[in-house]
């Protein structure tokens, strides 16, 4: 059976290599990809939205609808984990009566976590807030925030982590993140503009057109960061403990 797969793989490889003769060399400035649509982004992004980081502008403003549904792909993964790794109430142990801090189990890990975690969360908030000016934004910030929660869960044990971070409001916050994103879009529709057209926020925020775009992108980044941090942490908790702790549902 494996011989067929080897044959198909080698055939696919030769077909793909024969394709490369048509491709432009990586890095030449006159390739069609660098001539058609992207010059518009590079030239007009700062003029229209006051955001130097063009990737964040294209991510949240020009192709904002893509990112809305990409965040809901992450949310679907979170809901899928709730459905697949489901345990009924009696199979779960309630963790309210577990000892608060597991003393002395792994000294190095716990102390380094005490030192590192606040810095990680501060850096995560910096990355979310500075998505406009430096590389970063909702995704990276959210994942670093989730990494700090996971670090705490690894060193102090999952029940303490569950107890400490948004005890049973987690699943609400995950939905809230994407709801912020879709809500900003729907708000633009209510204000008689197209979906995700941030210019509509102009008369609410009483700012100029460009700044309305900039604030719209900021709200959207916050929504994305919220969802991604909650869902990534929930993925770790679900996969590490197999959903065996009596927490609300996420």
């Amino acid at each position: 059976m494996k011989i067929y797969y080897k044959l198909v793989a080698i055939l696919l490889l030769f077909f793909l290599i024969s394709l490369t003769f048509d491709f432009p060399v990586t890095g030449d400035l006159t390739s069609p990809a660098n001539l058609n649509v992207s010059p518009y982004y590079l030239e007009n992004s700062v003029k229209q939205t006051h955001i130097p980081n063009v990737v964040t502008t294209v991510l949240a403003d020009y192709r904002g609808f893509d990112t809305l549904f990409e965040t809901s792909v992450i949310l679907t993964a979170g809901i899928a984990l709730i459905l697949i790794l489901f345990k009924s109430k009696r199979q779960k142990y309630s963790f309210s009566n577990l000892p608060r801090t597991t003393k002395g189990t792994d000294l190095v890990c716990q102390n380094s976590c005490k030192l590192a975690m606040p810095l990680m969360q501060l850096f995560a908030l910096y990355v979310i807030a500075h998505g406009h000016y430096s590389p970063g934004g909702g995704f990276q910030g959210g994942v670093i925030l989730a990494a700090s929660f996971i670090f705490y869960a690894i060193s102090f044990g999952v029940p303490n982590a569950l107890n400490r971070f948004f005890k049973n409001k987690r699943q609400m916050l995950a939905y809230l993140g994407v709801l912020i994103y879709a809500g900003v879009g729907a708000l633009c529709v209510i204000l008689k503009k197209k979906f995700l057209e941030y210019v509509a926020l102009k008369d609410i925020l009483r700012v100029s057109d460009e700044m309305a775009h900039s604030y719209g992108v900021l709200f959207v980044e916050i929504g994305v960061a919220l969802t991604i941090s909650i869902i990534m942490f929930a993925c770790y908790v679900f996969l590490a403990t197999g959903n065996s702790f009596d927490d609300e549902n996420l």
Partner: protein, 78 residues
């Protein structure tokens, strides 16, 4: 020239990660594979993508893989 060397190491890591017998080693090599992808991406001026690949690719997915391996076991036949 440096890109070409990193790409060769990447292919070796991918081949190694698929053929090693212990699953734990395989997932750690996959973490190294994602890190080298992140290095390559930053050389190709894609700094945002490199940042995300570093956090998500070598960071969270390796943690998720090792978390499942602790429950599933490290042995594999092929």
């Amino acid at each position: 020239m440096l890109e070409f060397i990193i790409l060769l190491i990447l292919v070796i890591f991918a081949f190694l990660s698929l053929n090693v017998k212990n699953l734990f080693t395989a997932s750690i090599i996959l973490g190294a594979y994602s890190f080298l992808t992140c290095v390559l991406l930053s050389k190709m001026l894609a700094v945002d993508v490199a940042f995300t690949e570093a956090c998500v690719g070598s960071g969270v997915s390796t943690v998720l893989m090792v978390a499942t391996l602790c429950k599933v076991g490290f042995k594999t036949k092929d």
